[in-house]
Symmetry: C2
Subunit: 350 residues, 2 copies
DNA sequence: CTGAAAGCGCTTACAG
DNA sequence: CTGAAAGCGCTTACAG
């Protein structure tokens, strides 16, 4: 390990003191132009790179953001987090992630792991119900700002950036109602997280607005949020009697699972059953009948999250924000709606 | 920001010196059992957490791994990296990632960004052709080990963990040959990276083994690695005359794009055209005719990558490794092969 | 505008 | 087995 060049070494080489070198490097005001130029030139020439670890120790700030998101291999989250990372990096923050999120204990351990590494702020997707908010109190005490992404926990002093999930659930259900459906099922994931609860609430709202009854037996829990869970749910849907004529899936992967089973069982979409998803994942075009879905602004969600947490870090005074980004309807074929020419259809659908 | 409790504070409280406290905390040998117990108890009670930044500065090691992967929102990479993260975290390393990889300059900037933060090792997926290996020399000089994941760059002193891509390309093509196909197209992504080149080489090998001619016009470049590129390629495939009866796609997303266009154009899979992918992404079951594909061991790939880079970090002496993980054939429906009962078919296919 | 001093919180020889 | 000292590389008042 060739020992790297430090400010002290630069100072010696130039016959200056190291505070002077430091100030030149950091672009501090009180310094002679010539001196600064000499320092910068030498630094460049010698391949000087600041040791950020030392800097962090001295400053008590690391310019890093901890992220705790149970890594779900859906392109939805990948896209959101990609945009988060990009934005953070643009703003000179780096991202440290921790993915152990099977249980509340693991989540707490992950948070601790990151806090020990002195992250300046924390972004998390709370996927578990919890009774004990102790860890969040600690964070508040330490002055580490927290941002909930996607879902939120009530009663925690933190910001939220996510989707208008009530509106999303409502939009999906209403689309079906407008197409004449009366008996509409809802495929839920797990209950208890805000996203699930709020999308369901939106669905109910749409029913109410249309004077349709809310029938609890039409809400089928899938036990999770992935394709496989959607497949399970599909089987349950087929056992319902009378059978619903349409399905709102809580998210796209669940809709994919439902569609996959329907296709193999010969239940035609949309003729025999209409289907709406929620997310707007590009994979939706792969289905025999491309998925109509609620399109979430994934890019914006990631970027806003980065901007908000950085704002919180740099601007301690600010109040927590609660930001719900609006969705759009992405009409493809799985509900049988007529495709108008001005409708969004980014990919060839034949 | 409540100032946190330090070793010095603990020492004062206990009437000990801070080196003693430090040794107790680190489980060093020469220390009285009673003293250690007292220290540990006090640390626990006071909620002491070590400042890892300070430790890193003193040690010159951060226990972190830098990752530079152009974040592609394919579940393939998400799954690989998830497993990488998990394994790294299990082994007490944390992962810092940098996703600016549009050009060689950006890649170099990303690497520098991470090196300034004193990562102990670097994992990267080289997606660009490059002429200038300067940055890798620097890394070697600094003693920072490098691991290429998925693709590799020839002539760089680094380890590689990836797939047996030659075998994979060969396996895909051979599957089609065994089903009687003679005119088999290859959908390439971009040329120049080792994965693409080696899969193509495998395809050629299979042709040669079957005494089939290699016809360059059957190799169609898609211009990228995503679904959209596959769609472009599909259009070109349909213009070929005589039309091939089968297609090897360089990866699954390309195959998805091809399948999507074929479906909308009424080209039936597998009757009119057989199709093989490469990756084994679960989304393959969504297609009207579920995709037969080369199944890559994504979990293992991520875990091995973590193990190898950590080994390199902790064990400087070791030689670079070159590890090609074997693939399997995942036979579904897109080639028309008879599904034997012992064939892999993790999801219901009807 | 520049320099001498102290400190961030940890680790590590070196004495006792 | 325990303590006094110096150092990791940077930053930041405080003097001059």
């Amino acid at each position: 390990m060739a020992d790297s060049i430090t400010q002290r070494r630069l100072a010696e080489l130039l016959g200056l003191s190291f505070p002077t070198v430091n100030r030149a490097l950091n672009g501090c005001p009180g310094i002679h132009k010539r001196t600064r130029a000499r320092v910068l030139e030498a630094a460049e020439r010698m391949g000087y790179h600041k040791n950020i670890v030392a800097r962090s120790l001295a400053l008590g700030r690391t310019h890093s953001i901890g992220v705790v998101i149970g890594a779900i291999p859906h392109s939805f989250w990948t896209t959101v987090m990609q945009n988060f990372d990009w934005r953070a990096q643009q703003r000179k923050y780096y991202v440290v992630s921790s993915h152990s999120t099977e249980s509340n204990e693991q989540v707490d351990a992950s948070i601790r792991f990151l806090v020990d590494r002195q992250v300046d702020g924390l972004v998390m997707h709370p996927s578990h119900l919890r009774r004990d908010f102790g860890i969040f109190r600690e964070l508040e005490q330490k002055g580490i700002p927290v941002l909930f992404l996607g879902s939120f926990l009530q009663g925690v002093h933190a910001s939220f950036v996510g989707l208008d999930d009530i509106g999303g659930g409502r939009m999906a259900c209403r689309h079906l109602i407008e197409l004449g459906h009366r008996r509409i099922a809802f495929v839920a994931g797990l209950f208890g997280d805000s996203t699930a609860d709020r999308r369901l609430a939106g669905y109910r709202e749409a029913l109410r607005e249309a004077d349709l009854p809310y029938d609890e037996t039409l809400v089928v829990p899938a036990g999770g949020y992935c394709l496989e869970h959607g497949q399970q749910a599909a089987l349950k849907l087929l056992e319902l009697s009378p059978r619903p004529s349409a399905v709102v899936a809580m998210n796209d992967p669940l809709a994919f699972g439902v569609a996959q089973i329907f296709w193999t069982k010969g239940v035609r979409i949309p003729q025999d059953m209409a289907l709406v998803g929620n997310a707007g994942m590009p994979e939706g075009v792969l289905l025999p009948s491309p998925l109509t879905t609620v399109l979430a602004p994934m890019e914006k969600m990631g970027q806003r999250a980065a901007d908000v947490i950085i704002e919180m870090i740099e601007n301690k005074r600010s109040e927590p924000v609660f930001e719900e980004l609006p969705n759009e309807m992405l009409v493809r074929k799985s509900c049988g709606a007529k495709l108008e020419s001005n409708q969004i259809s980014p990919l060839p659908n034949g």
